[in-house]
C-alpha cells in the first residue's frame, strides 16, 4: 500500500511538472485517511522509520524516527545543501533519510504558527560540533518547500569568505569587492531551487548592468538571474538585486520567504582573503556579505530567517567554541539580537538506538558484534552519542 503511494508520487512529475507539488500535497492526505496511526508498528523492520513524508505532519510521536525525502526533491532543494558525508550516504543507500528530532520539531511548530504580519523572526540553531544542525536546517527547508515558500538557501556562508581566487572591484560601489564565481554558483543553486517563482516575481525597478544591458521594470526575476549567470562580472550585483527584490516583495505578501543560512558566523568573523597589495579584507568590504547582512535585519515581514552556527568551516575560532556569543562575536551578536536560540544536542538513547537500527536495516554495519547490546554500548561510549562521530565509526564497521 505504502509502496504504491510512493510510486505514485514519483510518477507524477513526468505527467505534469507544473502542479507537481500540488498533487504531492494531496497524496499524503489520502494516505493519512487510509492509515489510522502514522507509525507502523506491525513490521519489526520499520522500528526506525516512519512513512510520513510530509514534515508538516511530523509530531512528537515521530520523534527519533527516520523519514525519507524523495530523490527528486533532494536534487531540486539541495543541489549543494547537504553536508558532503551525508550526500555520500544518500548516494550509497539510494535514499535520503532524515531523523525527526526535537529541535527541528520545535522549529516546525514555530514556523507553522508564524504571523506573517510581524517582522521576520530569527531562529538560530546552535550546538556542539557534529550534533545535526545542518541536517535540521535541511528538514526545515523541506517543510517550507512542501508549503510553497520561496527558499533563499545559502549552503555554507564560509565558502564566501575563504579560498576565493578572484576578487574584483565592485562595479556598483567602488569600495567593495566582488566575488564573481561564488555569486554565479549561488545563482545557479537559487535557480534550481526556485524555478517556478522566477517567472512569477516581477522586478520593481530598472537595473542597468553596463552600457548595453539593462533589465526593465516589470520583467521576471528569472531575467536578472540569467543575467548574473551569463555575465559573470555582474553576478554579485545580480545577487544583491535578487535579495533586495525578494525582501521588498515578500513584505507585500505575495509569497512566504525563508532565508536559510548555514554557518552564519562567517558574516561577522574574519576572512582569509587579501587584496593584491596583501592587505586583509574585512567581511564588510565584500559585496555578497554586505547584502546578506542587510537580509538578516528583520525590517521585513512575510517570512522567517533560520540560521545555523558552524565551527567546522569557521576561521580563527577554537574547535571547542559552540555558543553564539563565542562564534558570532560581539558585532554579530548585536546584529542578530534579538533571536530565538535553539540548542541541538547529541542523540538521546532512543535516537541513538534508532540510528543504529537504521544502519542495520541498510546492512551498513557488517561487524558481527554490532547488533548486540555490548556492541551498542561500545559504540555509544566511543562516540558519546555524537551523530557525526557515530557516523564516522560506523563507516568502517
Amino acid at each position: 500500500m505504502l509502496k504504491g503511494v510512493r510510486r505514485l508520487i514519483s510518477r507524477v512529475p513526468k505527467l505534469d511538472p507544473g502542479c507537481f507539488l500540488h498533487v504531492a500535497t494531496q497524496a499524503p492526505q489520502s494516505t493519512a485517511a487510509h492509515l489510522d496511526s502514522p507509525v507502523p508498528v506491525e513490521s519489526p523492520r520499520a522500528v526506525s522509520r516512519t512513512s510520513e513524508g510530509d514534515p508538516a505532519r511530523h509530531g512528537e510521536q515521530h520523534e527519533s524516527l527516520h523519514y525519507s525525502i524523495p530523490l527528486e526533491d533532494v536534487k531540486t532543494l539541495f543541489p549543494h545543501g547537504l553536508p558532503p558525508r551525508f550526500a555520500k550516504q544518500v548516494k550509497t543507500f539510494g535514499e535520503a533519510c532524515l531523523m525527526v528530532r526535537k529541535p527541528a520539531l520545535e522549529l516546525l511548530h514555530y514556523l507553522k504558527n508564524t504571523n506573517f504580519a510581524h517582522p521576520a523572526v530569527r531562529y538560530l540553531l546552535y550546538g556542539e560540533k557534529g550534533t545535526g544542525k545542518t541536517l535540521s536546517l535541511c528538514h526545515i527547508i523541506h517543510f517550507c518547500a512542501k508549503h510553497d515558500w520561496l527558499i533563499l538557501h545559502i549552503p555554507d556562508a564560509h565558502l564566501w569568505v575563504k579560498n576565493c581566487r578572484d576578487l574584483l572591484q565592485s562595479t556598483y560601489n567602488k569600495e567593495r569587492l566582488d566575488q564573481p564565481l561564488e555569486a554565479s554558483n549561488w545563482l545557479k543553486i537559487f535557480k534550481t531551487t526556485n524555478e517556478r517563482f522566477l517567472s512569477q516575481i516581477k522586478v520593481q525597478e530598472k537595473y542597468v548592468w553596463n552600457k548595453r544591458e539593462s533589465t526593465e521594470k516589470g520583467s521576471p526575476l528569472g531575467a536578472v538571474v540569467e543575467q548574473g549567470i551569463t555575465r559573470v562580472r555582474n553576478a554579485t550585483d545580480a545577487v544583491g538585486v535578487v535579495l533586495k527584490e525578494l525582501k521588498m516583495q515578500s513584505s507585500l505578501g505575495k509569497f512566504h520567504l525563508l532565508v536559510a543560512v548555514d554557518g552564519v558566523n562567517a558574516l561577522w568573523g574574519r576572512t582569509t582573503l587579501r587584496r593584491e597589495d596583501k592587505s586583509p579584507v574585512a567581511p564588510e568590504e565584500l559585496a555578497l556579505i554586505h547584502n546578506l547582512r542587510k537580509m538578516m535585519r528583520n525590517d521585513w515581514h512575510g517570512g522567517a530567517i533560520v540560521l545555523t552556527l558552524s565551527q567546522t568551516g569557521s576561521l580563527f575560532k577554537s574547535r571547542k567554541a559552540y555558543l553564539p556569543h563565542e562564534l558570532l562575536g560581539k558585532e554579530g551578536f548585536d546584529a542578530l539580537d534579538p533571536f530565538l536560540p535553539i540548542l541541538v544536542s547529541n542523540y538521546n538513547p532512543v535516537e541513538f538506538e534508532s540510528c543504529i537500527q537504521y544502519y542495520l536495516e541498510n546492512n551498513w554495519l557488517q561487524h558481527e558484534k554490532a547488533p548486540t547490546e555490548e556492541g551498542k554500548e561500545e559504540l555509544q561510549f566511543l562516540s558519546n552519542s555524537n551523530p557525526e562521530q557515530l557516523e564516522r565509526l560506523c563507516a568502517f564497521l
Binding site: 555490548e374 561500545e378 555509544q380 566511543l382 558519546n384
Partner: protein
C-alpha cells in the same frame, strides 16, 4: 733476577719503536734521551708522556685475589667496630643497630647523586662484600681432604651422591612396604605449592662452585624423582633446603578506599602516570557514563578514536560501560601519554568497586601496571637514542 730483565726488555722495545716512527712528539724523544743517558743500567724508566703502544700482547686478566681466613676475620672485626662507631655518631644505641640503620646512616653521611645504586658507598658485612671462597682443599702432604676432589666439582658430586643414596633408600623402603602390602596412598605435599626449586645461580652460591646447565638439570631431575617416592620427615627437611617460597604478586596491589563526598555519593580517587603525563581520576560509583577531562567532555578533549578506546578499555573489561561517572585532571605529556595516564588512574580507582578476583584479572590484563617506557636519552656521537650518523665509507 727476572725483574731487571723485564724492565730492560721494555726499554729496548720503546727504543725500537721510537726509531721506527716519524714525527712523534718531543716528549718522547726526551724520554728516549733520558734513557740513553742512563745507559744499559737497568732502571725503572720514567716516561714523561707517551703514546707508544707496547708490542707485548695483552696482559692476561689477573686471577682473583685469594683472601685468607685471617684477612676475612680482621675485616669482620673492623666492620663491627665501625658499626659501633657509626651508631655513636648517629646518636643511637650500638647494641640494636641493624643493617637497615647502617644503610640509612651511610646514605645520610655520604649523599651520592650517582644513578647506579651499586656505585654508591655501602657498608655491609664482609661476608656479603667478599665473595665466598673455599679454603685450601688439601693438606700439607698435598693430599686432598675430600674423596671427590679430583672430579673437579667435589661439592656438586657429593651432593648428587647423597641425594641418590636417599633415592635408593626410599625405593628400598617402598619395595618393602609393597611386599607387605602396606602401601599407603600417595599424598601430594602441600608445601610444594607456593615454593620453587633453587635456580642455578642460587645453587652455585650454595656450593661455591661453577656448574653447567646440564649439571643443574640433572640435579633437579633427581630431586623430582625423590619427591615421587615415599620418604620420611628427615628427607623432607633435606628437600626444603632446596626450595624457596614464591610470594603471590597480586597481594601487593593496593586498593584505594572508597570515599564519600558531601552528597553521600560514593567515589574513589587515584593517580596514574605515563611518560611525562600525570592524571588524577575520581570515579563515582553510580553514574550515567559521563567522563569529564579537565572540565571538558572527553569527546572534545580526545578527538582521536584511539585515545577514547584507551579510556574505554577498563570499563569494557569489567563490563561496566555506562555505569560510572568520571572526573579527571591531566597535565603534561602528549595526547597518547595523557590517554594512557587517565586509563591507569581510572583502572586503579575502579579496583575499589570491584571484587578481588576481578582485580587479579585486571592485573593480569596489564591495566594496573604503570608503563615503564620513557623517552631514551640521546647519546653523544649518535643522532638520536639509537640512530647513528650516516656511515660514509670515505
Amino acid at each position: 733476577m727476572a725483574a731487571p730483565c723485564v724492565s730492560g726488555g721494555r726499554v729496548l722495545s720503546c727504543r725500537f719503536l721510537l726509531w721506527g716512527s716519524v714525527g712523534r712528539r718531543q716528549g718522547l724523544l726526551k724520554a728516549a734521551a733520558a734513557d740513553l743517558q742512563t745507559g744499559s743500567r737497568s732502571q725503572i724508566l720514567r716516561l714523561i708522556h707517551t703514546t707508544v703502544v707496547t708490542t707485548k700482547k695483552n696482559v692476561p686478566a689477573s686471577r682473583r685475589e685469594m683472601y685468607t681466613e685471617d684477612f676475612i676475620k680482621k675485616q669482620i672485626e673492623e666492620f663491627n667496630i665501625g658499626k659501633r662507631h657509626l651508631a655513636n655518631m648517629m646518636g643511637e644505641d650500638p647494641e640494636t643497630f641493624t643493617q637497615e640503620d647502617i644503610d640509612r646512616a651511610i646514605a645520610y653521611l655520604f649523599p651520592s647523586g650517582l644513578f647506579e645504586k651499586q656505585a654508591r658507598p655501602i657498608m655491609k658485612h664482609p661476608e656479603q662484600i667478599f665473595p665466598k671462597q673455599r679454603a685450601i682443599q688439601w693438606g700439607e702432604d698435598g693430599r686432598p681432604f675430600h674423596f671427590l676432589f679430583y672430579t673437579g666439582k667435589q661439592s656438586y658430586y657429593s651432593l648428587m651422591h647423597e641425594v641418590y643414596g636417599k633415592v635408593l633408600q626410599a625405593e628400598k623402603h617402598q619395595d618393602q612396604l609393597r611386599a607387605r602390602g602396606l602401601l599407603p596412598e600417595n599424598t601430594e605435599i602441600k608445601d610444594l605449592i607456593g615454593s620453587r626449586w633453587l635456580i642455578k645461580e642460587e645453587l652455585e652460591d650454595m656450593l661455591v662452585e661453577k656448574l653447567s646447565d646440564h649439571d643443574y638439570m640433572h640435579f633437579i631431575q633427581l630431586l623430582e624423582k625423590l619427591l615421587t617416592l615415599q620418604y620420611g620427615p628427615t628427607e623432607e627437611e633435606f628437600i626444603q633446603k632446596f626450595r624457596r617460597s614464591v610470594t603471590v604478586q597480586s597481594k601487593k596491589q593496593q586498593i584505594e578506599p572508597v570515599q564519600y563526598d558531601e552528597k553521600g555519593m560514593a567515589f574513589s580517587a587515584s593517580e596514574g602516570r605515563r611518560k611525562t603525563a600525570k592524571a588524577e581520576a575520581i570515579v563515582y560509583e553510580h553514574g550515567g557514563g559521563e567522563i569529564k577531562v579537565n572540565g571538558v567532555d572527553y569527546l572534545l578533549y580526545f578527538p582521536v578514536l584511539q585515545d577514547r578506546e584507551q579510556l574505554m578499555f577498563p570499563f569494557h573489561f569489567l563490563d561496566r560501560l555506562g555505569k560510572h561517572d568520571v572526573t579527571c585532571t591531566v597535565s603534561g605529556g602528549g595526547r597518547s601519554a595523557q590517554a594512557g595516564a587517565v586509563r591507569l588512574a581510572v583502572a586503579k580507582a575502579l579496583c575499589s568497586f570491584v571484587s578481588e578476583e576481578e582485580v587479579e584479572w585486571m592485573r593480569q590484563a596489564g591495566l594496573l601496571t604503570a608503563d615503564p617506557r620513557v623517552r631514551e636519552r640521546k647519546k653523544p656521537g649518535q643522532e638520536g637514542a639509537r640512530r647513528k650518523f650516516t656511515w660514509k665509507k670515505r
